[in-house]
Symmetry: C2
């Protein structure tokens, strides 16, 4: 099935590319570093190099299959592009990534760019949050 996604993206259907796509689709967290993916491959006895993981992810990004995020310093994380745009919220205590969509914010962003004489091409919005203290209920 996903071999079609690759062909559609103009990429040859190779074993490494298929494996990496599958891992991204199966991933619970939805946001993985190249290293995460590489370790998954290793644990599945796959013989794919880390350099290939990086190369494939870059190709996927160019092809629009994947989005790359540079959250707080360290490694970049990659996320399979499932069509619907969204922004991210990161729980700084657990590291968990939560997705959200807010049309109002999207609209305001376009408006701001416009007011300054620009057209909005891309944006990156990340909220760093902390769980609310439970009130003694």
């Amino acid at each position: 099935m996903e071999s079609q996604d690759l062909r559609k993206a103009g990429l040859k259907v190779t074993h490494p590319r298929m494996r990496i796509l599958e891992i991204l689709e199966a991933s619970q967290s939805r946001h993985m570093t190249a290293e995460d993916i590489y370790k998954q491959l290793l644990s599945h006895e796959e013989d794919i190099g880390l350099a290939t993981v990086y190369r494939v992810l870059t190709q996927f990004e160019t092809a629009g299959l994947v989005t790359k995020h540079n959250f707080e310093g360290g490694q970049a994380v990659f996320e399979l592009d499932r069509g619907k745009h969204h922004d991210h919220m990161i729980d700084i205590e657990s590291g968990r990534v939560i997705e959200f969509v807010n049309e109002e914010i999207e609209r305001l962003q376009r408006e701001i760019a416009d007011k300054h004489g620009y057209v909005l091409e891309e944006h990156s919005l990340v909220l760093y949050v902390r769980p609310k203290k439970k009130t003694g209920k």
Copy 2:
């Protein structure tokens, strides 16, 4: 004058720290990489190592004197904290960084975090924009 800023931040007043503060204050662009600052120092015949620049910037960040941004991959940029919070817009054609403030977006962000059971601690919003095509006026 700025020696007070350093003392207030609990940092010893040393030559490298003063120089770096001054460069940040004098900088036209307001957003400099460690390398940028290092080169400025070199051109002023200062004998300060790049490692020190990084160390000092990190201390400044911890002390709240400076904010560090990880815009699109590559080097981090540092900006002197002049009190008023703002977000950034980057002209992808010229690389220019434009600052803006929008209370409505700030409010929506707090609201979104709240709705998910979190408190907003920090956020990062960057708009990547392109100049509007001039209409043939």
